[in-house]
Assembly symmetry: C2
Homo-oligomer: 339 residues x 2
């Protein structure tokens, strides 16, 4: 119905007695078109409700003005994914500002990321791609570079390739977090790392180590947990640490499961969080505040990161020779007031 009667360039052209070419050029302010003509064309296009057909344009130019963000969903625990929502928001905003539309392609962690990528590109669905959840020595980077496909990564990898990325300053955050605990008088500090996030873990370990060194505190490997913690595993791990003869009095969590494990373990030991035991947790935008314990949180501006990612990607698409965005975003570590 109304769908079929969608105006195209030819209709506007015949209506105005112009050629399709001129109309096309007028609509993008082509310098070869007379200013008056441009005005006439634009008025007619507006009146007719003309919107350029994505597929006609894409077929001709090879460009779709669409970006795709590939977001693996953490199906076993959606709460871990909550940081993706502000990320999506930031990406959407920046895409719209740049005249692109953003499509979110959610995958399960089990799928082969390589294969998804290949399909996505071949099908001609996007001008550029945002990839996330980088692993060290990520195979997607050489894959995309080889093919000359514009992309930007959320997270660095240990490879030497020159590619665009935005990353969180995990080392700095871990340093600040550890320092904060040291300043509160903690000497023995536990550090929770996830094997599934090895490249982040490495950075965090560096920050932690530096902070401990500046305070002259030795690093005890027993204080460093490095596995894919469930909540139960976190609780077990911290309980064991608290049973040691010289237990920790502070913890730097990797995620909210670590926090909840710590809350369980300290409750059983009748330790008061904020007095006997201090916890630094990743900010989950809201959840931390819901718990009635004083916590220290590190906050990262995820909306800003989303924006940066898309801005960097658009720049790379539109100016392929410009230097690639390589941005490290700092976080803030701060006390959260209890409710």
């Amino acid at each position: 119905m109304a769908l079929n009667s969608r105006p195209n360039l030819r209709q506007i052209a015949t209506e105005l007695g112009l050629s399709v070419t001129t109309v096309s050029r007028a609509l993008k302010d082509g310098p070869e078109v007379h200013p008056d003509t441009i005005r006439r064309v634009k008025a007619a296009a507006d009146a007719a409700g003309y919107v350029p057909n994505l597929h006609g344009r894409a077929l001709r130019t090879g460009l779709t003005r669409t970006l795709t963000a590939i977001l693996p969903m953490e199906t076993r625990d959606y709460l871990s994914d909550i940081a993706k929502l502000p990320l999506i928001e930031g990406m959407t905003l920046a895409a719209r500002e740049g005249g692109y539309s953003l499509s979110v392609y959610s995958t399960t962690p089990e799928e082969d990321p390589q294969e998804n990528l290949a399909r996505l590109i071949q099908i001609g669905g996007a001008d550029g791609i945002v990839i996330t959840r980088m692993v060290s020595d990520d195979p997607r980077i050489p894959y995309l570079l080889e093919r000359g496909i514009p992309f930007i990564a959320f997270g660095r990898t240990s490879t030497a390739f020159d590619y665009a990325f935005v990353d969180v300053d995990n080392e700095g955050i871990a340093f600040d977090a550890t320092r904060m605990l040291l300043d509160r008088g903690c000497r023995r500090i536990a550090l929770q790392l996830l094997t599934r996030e090895d490249q982040y873990s490495a950075a965090r370990l560096v920050g932690y180590t530096k902070a401990m060194n500046t305070a002259g505190q030795p690093i005890d490997p027993q204080m460093i947990g490095h596995e894919d913690f469930t909540m139960e595993a976190s609780e077990g791990w911290i309980s064991r640490l608290l049973d040691m003869p010289d237990p920790p009095t502070g913890l730097v969590c990797a995620n909210e499961l670590g926090l909840l494990g710590a809350l369980g373990a300290t409750r059983r030991k009748r330790l008061v969080v904020g007095r006997d035991f201090h916890i630094v947790v990743r900010d989950n935008t809201h959840m931390c505040r819901y718990l009635s314990v004083p916590l220290i949180a590190h906050v990262v501006d995820m909306v800003g990161i989303g924006r940066s990612l898309v801005q960097g990607l658009i720049r790379q698409i539109e100016e392929p020779n410009a230097p690639r965005m390589q941005r490290v975003v700092e976080g803030k570590v701060q006390q959260i007031a209890k409710i």
Copy 2:
């Protein structure tokens, strides 16, 4: 590079000494093509890594095999959005199963939903649309119906239009929730409703009223809060209720902010949740379990709803004359064990 040398139908056709037409038909198992030819063509296409070009096809057929879900993001409180993640997961899975790809279009609540819709469709970006966060008498429904655009809604509205939807049985859930509280001995039960979710609120109020009636309990309008609660507002509201001469001993929350407000208010009153005061909360998949209070939660299978939405939409696209999906999904109300 490799992007440009992407194989197309013509390349495969010349390679095999066939016409483009025959290759095209062979690839979709056209009955007019000789079985041997089909085999040959498919082998060659596989070998060449052929993937049909989305835009060429879309331009010719008007179909993109892409679905778009429009998800307003709750920028002031991402935690409210967490239910969207399993929804996205379910939609993605069902889309992939049906041979479609799903694009998530996130909007801010302030934007004009109508305008977004129009652009989205005109641009030719999708074969069908999932709309969410319905308001009563939602203008998008006649808009889409008029234009013959396939869509499905997450949520019913009060209109008499015949359109596809999947909805949660809010009335049933509210009934079960209220009954559960009555069974625990609550007589005065507070009900939290959100003005921003009027169409859900109405259903909940009906369920609540029915349950109270079956127990012979009068409905006290003072027990029904109806505004867009922040956490602070929730806490204030419940505190005031608890200050009344005949305070409530149970609460049916609209969202987790209500829960947190109730936790704050009861703590100040030194009431023990689970003994002096009972709370029914929407399941947030994980968060409820993190709180060390016994709660009652109603759970809804969001992944399943996502699947249903997309399945219903695909059916409508592919069989326009089939009856439209109109599905009401029941929830379960259950006690959550404390950690």
